[in-house]
Amino acid sequence: MTTRTILLVEDNADDEALALRALRRDGLDACVEVARDGAEALEWLNARADATPGPSLPVVVLLDLKLPKVGGIEVLGAIRRHPQMAHLPVVVVTSSRESRDLAACYAERANGFVCKPVEFEAFSEAIRTVVRYWLEYNVPPPVSVGD
């Protein structure tokens, strides 16, 4: 069985640890890759998208918005403009509920927008639900659609 990956883009070490904890709890059949800023995330993704037949792209990207260097919305834009990643599932997971962020994310065709709850129980529930959905229930598009 090929190991599937999830990319978590998160600059806050605490949030990262909590998200990992939430995911570990569930015993998910996937490994979690972490990028700590937008530039790192894009580098990692681009390397995979451009390598043929290299390692496959993640099942889902959990993307924070307020990131150092390259912001989340820019990352999303860059992903969408890449021919191999136009359909890559990206769920924005952020503390902000700003309407302009919402608008910007959906304008860049985000697959979802989750506002991180303050309470840990709610937070871990949200993360687990999102990841389980993409991992277990979602059927990805056929390979040819990417171009």
Binding site: D15, R21, K66, K116, V118, E119, F120
Partner: protein, 455 residues
């Protein structure tokens, strides 16, 4: 050097004189021929005829003499009137405050009035020897040649702004008017230059341009202020929703992790403490949401009314006294302060400003807080809240009004750093501005206006 020359056409005069003489000749001839016959017809007697002839002759001479007298007198009068007029004109021109000079066709100065003397510094006598180029600035040395060419080319009047160099090397802005000078026969002999000093006018128009530019700059500044205020507002909400939630989530998350993973190592008291921590996190999450709500309400529509600011300040002061009855603070509120503002928002302003003054004077044994009003140069009211408290370093004065910006430590003076940001936002919504002055250890003054400055 004369300033007046008669150069009217002489042909008309000659024609008139010719006709007059011819008329006289004709009338006189007819008279001489006809009058003898008339005498012969009237009197037959030779003696009577002779007497009549005498009378006729004398009469003719008398009439001619009278004519001659009248004509000569008129001519003499006209001439003396003309002379005095020309003298007057010469005086006017000589004393004109404009610099008036006449150049011959070779560009030599042949006339030079007192105005020119005053403006340029050379006397009439010196001007005779003056090289006209001395008057021209370096960049316009060929100006007079070009001007003479235009006049020679037939232009009757040439006028343009230019510059002159004075004897002591100063440059003067002048408005030049050049006209042809010609002799009796209409032959061009030179050019008369009238140079009006426009330095003052130019300075005035430059001032107008400068003032306009300044006005535009002020409009730009105001727009920028509004934009900053808006941007700040956005970043405020953003910070609150993002930056404050993240650490809370960490506190709550790790407390739970501790409870789950290390429950065995924790006493029941320790577990209870952790439960409290997570409960407090929940409350604080709620507080943050409330804060955001507040920020939304300050964006709500305003209703401006006349507010009794003195009363508002007194109320705020007595509320503060009620919270800390033990403190001795002298609060001086000026009488009859009024303002056009939204009453709810203005109260929030006073709560924050007087509240800060109260807080930052807490370490003073004699605390004095003053609320008052001054007028700026334009007569606009400037309200102020002054205290003799901890003060601050002016170097950071600009930072005070940013959300969550604090200049004192939490342990020294508790607070979150939202008060002055709120004040700035409210004042900005009224079209005014707020600024702070302070000295470490000596106190602070926060001033604000509630309407746009004039201009």
């Amino acid at each position: 050097m004369a300033f007046y020359s008669v150069n009217g056409t002489k042909r008309n005069d000659r024609l008139t004189a010719g006709w007059l003489a011819f008329g006289y000749l004709a009338v006189a001839c007819v008279w001489i021929l006809m009058s003898d016959r008339l005498v012969a017809m009237v009197a037959r007697d030779a003696d009577v005829q002779l007497a009549l002839q005498h009378v006729k002759g004398v009469g003719f001479v008398v009439v001619t003499a009278v004519f001659l007298y009248v004509l000569v007198l008129r001519e003499l009068r006209a001439r003396s009137a003309g002379e005095s007029a020309s003298r007057m004109l010469a005086t006017v021109l000589r004393n004109s405050s404009d610099a008036i000079s006449v150049l011959d066709l070779g560009g030599r100065i042949v006339a030079w009035n007192h105005g020119a003397e005053r403006m340029y510094g050379w006397t009439e006598k010196e001007a005779e020897e003056l090289e006209v180029r001395r008057l021209l600035p370096e960049e316009g040395q060929s100006e007079i040649e070009e001007l003479l060419a235009r006049i020679r080319g037939g232009e009757a009047l040439v006028t343009y702004p230019t510059r002159r160099r004075t004897r002591d090397g100063r440059l003067v802005d002048v408005w030049l008017t050049a006209t042809r000078v010609s002799d009796e026969t209409g032959q061009l002999t030179g050019v008369a230059l009238t140079e009006h000093d426009v330095t003052a006018e130019l300075a005035a128009s430059r001032e107008v341009v400068r003032l306009n530019a300044e006005l535009e700059e002020r409009v730009r500044l105001r727009t920028r202020q509004l934009e900053t205020a808006n941007a700040e507002l956005e970043s405020f909400s953003y910070s609150v929703s993002h930056d404050l939630r993240a650490p809370l989530r960490a506190i709550d998350g790790f407390s739970r992790a501790l409870l789950e993973d290390c429950a065995g190592q924790l006493s029941s008291t320790g577990q209870n403490y952790l439960e409290r921590v997570t409960r407090a996190c929940g409350r604080m999450g709620q507080l943050i949401d409330d804060l955001l709500e507040l920020s939304r309400t300050t964006r709500a529509p305003m209703s401006v009314a006349t507010v009794d600011l003195s009363r508002v300040a007194e109320q705020v002061a007595s509320d503060l006294r009620a919270t800390e009855p033990g403190r001795e603070v002298e609060i001086r509120v000026a009488k009859d302060l009024s303002a056009r503002a939204d009453p709810v928002l203005l109260r929030a302003v006073m709560q924050n400003l007087v509240g800060n003054a109260w807080k930052f004077t807490s370490q003073k044994s004699v605390a004095v807080i003053e609320v008052g009003m001054e007028c700026d140069q334009e007569g606009q009211p400037v309200y102020f809240v002054r205290d003799n408290g901890a003060g601050f370093d002016m170097q950071f004065a600009g930072k005070l009004f940013g959300p969550f910006q604090r200049l004192h430590s939490e342990s020294e003076f508790p607070g979150t750093g939202i008060g002055l940001a709120t004040v700035a936002r409210i004042v900005g919504r009224h079209g005014g501005r707020v600024w702070a002055e302070g000295r470490p250890g000596e106190g602070a003054t926060i001033r604000f206006t509630l309407s746009p400055e004039a201009g």
